[in-house]
């Protein structure tokens, strides 16, 4: 007898009939009726009309029936909130049932009824269940707190459930502990500021003990929670690692990956000289390899994570190349990931084997896989110089197969090989040219054209070849058009006599007949260059190109560090930070790896460079197919510009951003707006009030301080450069939020509407957190003041100077660009006070070259006053001491991207001086010009000291220092 019979009743009047059955006196009939209702619900019929009748069946001693009614309630309570109240009584009663199974069932279901009205009635039963004698009820109640918090956070806090939940972490039953940890983590994740999981060595110890006893899922909750903790020093990190490593032997892949996450994160704190570090490295490889025998979906997650691990610590898997060889029956997504990892692991030692495999793959059937395999051969050539020759000959063999897509992929990668090893393999050009006609993909055509243009002097019929492409110029895709334009200009510069006609033809096609602004602009630039100064044109167009680096598709180091903290999660599979795909990105805390802090005084060699990215050298990354536009521009026009193109509707200015650095040498910056500085240094001659009176001033002022120093507004975009729109502004930081205060003035004669704003990528990821709201159209001579909230979760690109911000403002008239410098202190976060122990340890670790000193003149403040003034700019005093009559203040501040700066402030009567140190070692080749820090310190100190009119930023120490920032935990 099966349940399927319940699905069969489909006749008319069914609801009516069910109603009668539900109200039947016979228990058995009632139960049958409820089953029919649930069956209808399962197939998607609306049976909500039966709500009162079903709820009436709730009071029963039949557990199965009760479960079904509860299930019904969960589904329909939301649509019938008023009637859901009818159920409350039974819940309250069931929570007192002598059978723990029923108590737990009631408390579990209660939380799933997401009806605000009834939640408050559930608090009392929940409170009892949290203290229930049966662990099964307690573990269910723990989860219920998280459910209730999701519906009504305030209620849960008011009722003190969070504290009860925290107490459950010390429960005697491991399953209760695990669920409490899971519930707290869940709540903490949606309320990052709550500091719920107040992890300390004692609570960590409890968790580690529970880890040995709870179920596999509980182990995952605990490990994921541990991963959020930052040990105070390397000793603690090591002892946690030692207790976590046994989890690597768990049969459940998810437990293993969560353990790997904790280890990878805490390893960051261990010195590479430690024996334990090496032991740990060795322990990590086997379990990672074993993950490859799991189910394909788990393999996929593992491979995506191994891809990150290999980038972070290539030494772990460097000997394990073979396990990534592709098997015939692997699903395609596994094959592609394996291929990617194979290339990352390729080295001189194993290249022969890798190449043999890749060649094998390149003759498979699956097109995507074959393409990737061919591309991989090219990447090997670039990565392992010794193999380049063999790779090229393999590629030539593949071209001989004449399989269309193989040939095209091969040509695309050969172009990269030419760039990496100029003047080495040009002998193959003839073979490539033979296949010209079969190329039908834009990327391959563009690559071929690039090759012909680049080596025009060696190809006798280069002009004919390029001309053949020209016929269908307007049907080509943009990348081919751009490449053709550049290619022919190169040809002309190399063989001017016979190609004059050709170049004129292409220039006129590009400038006169094209709608594409990029193409037109590039055409015009070449035209002007060629007509005014052919020598300069030659220097620009035929300039030596920067070499492309060997590492490809590397994940940007900050992102990589963040992703390591998310091992096993969706973020690690997408290779994107959670903020990129989780709604309400603000709720997501950026995670970062902990710094290395040693408890011992051992002298350590400066840490060697992180994986794959030697300091001071930003790897050029071979772009994925989609990015080729940017790449083509780079190829010919100088240093990499990789900002996302802003709107390109404006012809004169739209191109500036696109072509970026390459152009300023060409057009002398005429189209650029001179960047106005945020704070203009002014001379100072104001009398200084006495220290005593200032102190009084301060005490009266302290209460009103609500934010840091704000510079007066400066004109950023003069009206004459923006068709009548004048923009001036400044930056402020108030209670944790940064905003850009803008003043827009319409100095034109027409009404302005449709304002929008966009930032280019910048050093600290500043981005508008909301659209630019100009409510009414801006009539002539009208001015509006707008405060634009900013976030720091935008894309990051290092700018020069570091605090440079490029802004595009659009209105109904045009798009305008300007750049401005923002004061650094808007980026000092509120939790920038470093723990004293940590400060001490970190300070010692900072090498001297990261240190800079400057003096602050005319600052008659005492220590306390200085400290509180600095604090209002989020520069915090960690400690204070008095040495030989001088007050020493130890200050810390943290930037929004997690960089810490530590400072020592010595206050001699009348002569304070400041030593600033930033912690080493460096994690990324960034330098933070100290001048900016100095400005911020001075501005904060002096803003309160002097009348507004003479506020000044004086630099007593003008030399610019480079101090290396480091990431510390948040």
């Amino acid at each position: 007898m099966t349940d399927s019979k319940y699905f069969t009743t489909t006749k008319k009047g069914e609801i009516f009939e069910l109603k009668a059955e539900l109200n039947s006196d016979k228990k058995e009939k009632k139960k049958e009726a409820v089953k029919k209702v649930i069956a209808s619900m399962t197939v998607g019929k609306d049976v909500s009309a039966l709500f009162p009748d079903v709820v009436n069946c709730m009071q029963t001693d039949n557990l199965e029936l009760k479960k079904l009614v509860y299930l019904y309630l969960m589904n329909y309570a939301k649509s019938q909130p008023d009637m859901a109240i009818m159920a409350v009584n039974t819940f309250v009663k069931d929570c007192e049932d002598p059978n723990p199974l029923i108590r737990a069932l009631a408390v579990r279901t209660m939380g799933c009824i997401r009806v605000d009205k009834i939640t408050e009635y559930l608090c009392e039963p929940l409170r009892k269940c949290l203290k229930d004698e049966d662990p099964y009820v307690r573990k269910t109640a723990a989860v219920c707190v998280a459910k209730l918090h999701d519906i009504n956070a305030q209620l849960v806090e008011d009722q003190g459930f969070l504290d009860t939940l925290k107490d459950l972490i010390s429960d005697s039953n491991p399953m209760v502990v695990a669920n409490a940890v899971a519930a707290l983590s869940e709540i903490a994740e949606s309320h990052p500021s709550s500091n719920l999981l107040d992890l300390n060595p004692q609570s960590i110890n409890k968790l580690l003990t529970a880890l040995n006893e709870c179920t596999e899922w509980g182990q995952i909750f605990i490990l994921d929670c541990l991963a959020n903790y930052t040990p105070k020093d390397d000793r603690e990190a090591q002892s946690i690692c030692e207790r976590v490593t046994p989890r690597l032997s768990h049969a459940n892949s998810a437990v293993v990956l969560s353990a790997v996450k904790v280890l990878m994160k805490f390893m960051e704190m261990l010195s590479k000289d430690l024996d334990y570090y090496g032991t740990l490295l060795k322990k990590l490889a086997p379990p990672l390899v074993t993950l490859l025998s799991a189910e394909p979906e788990l393999q996929y997650v593992a491979l995506r994570n191994i891809n990150l691990i290999v980038q972070k610590r290539p030494e772990i898997l460097k000997h394990e190349m073979k396990v990534f060889f592709v098997k015939y029956n692997d699903p395609i997504y596994v094959k592609l990931e394996k291929l990617d990892i194979m290339i990352r692991l390729a080295s001189q030692a194993n290249i022969a084997q890798v190449l043999a495999e890749l060649k094998e793959y390149a003759t498979e059937v699956d097109v995507d896989f074959v393409r990737k395999a061919v591309r991989a051969i090219g990447r090997c050539a670039i990565k392992v110089e010794q193999s380049a020759e063999r790779c090229v000959s393999t590629l030539l063999d593949l071209i001989q197969t004449k399989v269309n897509y193989v040939v095209q992929e091969a040509i695309v990668v050969i172009k990269d090989i030419f760039r990496k090893y100029p003047n080495k393999y040009e002998s193959v050009i003839a073979t490539l040219c033979e296949n010209l006609d079969s190329l039908d993909e834009p990327e391959a055509r563009a690559a071929m054209i690039w090759i012909v243009g680049e080596y025009a002097e060696r190809i006798d019929n280069a002009d004919e070849l390029l001309e053949s492409f020209l016929e269908g110029f307007h049907d080509e895709s943009t990348q081919v058009q751009l490449q053709l334009l550049t290619g022919i200009v190169k040809l002309f510069l190399k063989k001017p006599t016979e190609t004059q006609e050709l170049v004129q033809q292409v220039l006129s096609l590009a400038t006169q007949d094209s709608d594409n602004p990029d193409l037109r602009d590039r055409g015009y630039i070449y035209w002007r260059l060629l007509s005014t100064d052919p020598v300069a044109a030659k220097e620009v167009v035929l300039a030596e190109k920067p070499l492309i680096s060997e590492e490809t598709d590397l994940i940007e180091p900050t992102l990589l560090d963040e992703l390591i903290c998310y091992i096993g999660t969706l973020a690690s599979v997408y290779h994107k930070p959670p903020s990129a795909f989780v709604e309400g990105g603000r709720g997501v805390v950026h995670k970062s790896l902990p710094p290395r802090t040693a408890s011992s005084e051992s002298a350590e060699s400066p840490e060697t460079a992180p994986a794959g990215a030697p300091p001071g050298e930003q790897p050029d990354v071979i772009p994925a197919q989609g990015d080729l536009l940017g790449d083509l521009l780079n190829l010919d026009l100088g240093p990499p510009v990789s900002g996302p193109p802003l709107t390109t509707s404006s012809v004169q200015m739209g191109a500036v951003d696109l072509l970026g650095g390459g152009l300023d040498s060409l057009i002398g910056g005429t189209n650029f707006v001179a960047p106005p500085t945020a704070a203009v240094p002014a001379s100072l001659g104001a009398p200084i009030s006495s220290g005593l009176s200032d102190l009084f001033d301060l005490t009266s002022g302290v209460g009103t301080l609500s934010g840091s120093y704000v510079a007066p507004k400066a004109v950023w975009l003069p009206a004459m450069k923006a068709k009548g729109l004048e923009i001036s502004g400044t930056f402020t930081r108030q209670v944790g939020s940064i905003s850009m205060d803008l003043q827009l003035t319409n100095k034109a004669l027409q009404v302005m509407t449709d304002f929008a704003i966009q930032f280019n990528r910048n050093s600290f990821g500043l981005a508008p957190a909301a659209p630019l709201q100009v409510h009414a159209p801006l009539s002539p001579n009208q001015t509006v003041e707008i405060s634009l909230p900013l976030s720091t979760v935008g894309s990051v690109m290092k700018m020069e100077p570091l605090n440079n911000l490029q802004v595009a403002v659009k209105n109904n008239i045009d798009v305008f660009y300007f750049s401005t410098l923002y004061p650094l202190h808007i980026l000092f976060v509120e939790d920038g006070k470093m723990d004293r122990q940590m400060f001490l340890a970190t300070w010692k670790d900072i090498p001297n070259e990261n240190e800079a000193q400057f003096q602050i003149r005319d600052c008659p403040l005492n220590a306390e006053a200085a400290s509180s003034k600095l604090q209002s700019s989020n520069i915090f005093t960690v400690a204070k001491r008095n040495v030989e009559g001088q007050d020493m203040l130890y200050q810390s501040l943290k930037l929004t991207n997690g960089i810490w700066v530590l400072a020592e402030l010595r206050i001699q009567p009348g002569n304070p001086s400041c030593t600033v140190r930033a912690p080493a070692p460096t994690l990324r080749p960034w330098s933070l010009p100290l001048v900016l820090v100095e400005d911020a310190v001075q501005a904060s100190l002096q803003a309160w000291l002097e009348p507004e009119s003479v506020r000044s930023l004086k630099r007593t120490f003008l030399e610019s220092f480079h101090i290396h920032p480091v990431r510390l935990p948040r």
Partner: protein, 425 residues
Amino acid sequence: MSASAVFILDVKGKPLISRNYKGDVAMSKIEHFMPLLVQREEEGALAPLLSYGQVHFLWIKHSNLYLVATTSKNANASLVYSFLYKTIEVFCEYFKELEEESIRDNFVIVYELLDELMDFGFPQTTDSKILQEYITQQSNKLETGKSRVPPTVTNAVSWRSEGIKYKKNEVFIDVIESVNLLVNANGSVLLSEIVGTIKLKVFLSGMPELRLGLNDRVLFELTGLSGGKNKSVELEDVKFHQCVRLSRFDNDRTISFIPPDGDFELMSYRLSTQVKPLIWIESVIEKFSHSRVEIMVKAKGQFKKQSVANSVEISVPVPSDADSPRFKTSVGSAKYVPERNVVIWSIKSFPGGKEYLMRAHFGLPSVEKEEVEGRPPIGVKFEIPYFTVSGIQVRYMKIIEKSGYQALPWVRYITQSGDYQLRTS
């Protein structure tokens, strides 16, 4: 943190049954799943993780069903997939087969199980033996109103109930080693690994404490047993069942545990030591376009003469448009399986050191078909009893129970083929 809802869909993407755990993703979003899957498949970009706007689908396929978890958070993906597989395991234990029909036939139990397996996205009790103690298939059992939470659910020993009794206390130990092999077309071994599992069948009363002793090299080195006559094996990576005390193993390599009742897999291990491929295949596949294919396969048993490989099956790929097969074998029989495009050569018993030959001949149509075919590898299946490639041995199994009964451990060894592939040129 984890799944917001779990769906079981039929092969067309229609939900058969679902459970909403968190309520933060609209249940109607599942409608987008199947179109998305089809689209990705066409693009050749199919992956186990698909996203539609803010909703992420984590899915696995089991026979004709899709199990899909939705989430809008940065969920722990490995946990979700692990959980979905565990769910299948539990359903299979309950219904034998998990398919559309068994879901429909048992929807009440499926709902009950979904309720017990996960709460608010957190996996809870997923041990089917324990679940069966309080979520029973016979609904009438429940009506007595006696059902209680077995204490086991929340015990530290959450996999074994108390009060188990057997007249005869026995443990059966199966040591099974699978050989994974990948050989390229020119005959060089690319990958050769041994994946071993130790499976236990436990019929023991009470709460017995078990200790398993293996000839583990690390253990021998720790205890000074290495050298001399004691042959030991270096286990590269070991994975244990929930019941094994991992920290103890980490400390002194002792495998100690309180076992679940009945069948379970105690541990698995991996070794990548090169061993001589147990059955070596040489093949010549000559394709004469438009006329015929000639296949010659030579199989050689490269293991001890005393041992015998049973149920050997060698599958050799043939073009999909081949016809009129003819075979000649020195031993065993060959069969053409057109639906898989292979010839299967079966040999019931294959002693070590022997060498056998098979020839096959196929006709090819004179009109060549258009699509290109892949080059599937030759696959080999076999079983060699009373033998482990790695040389692993169970040295002892100590069984201690407070009632002090005597229990007998029985050990069996077997080596079999795992993923055993030889590429063809």
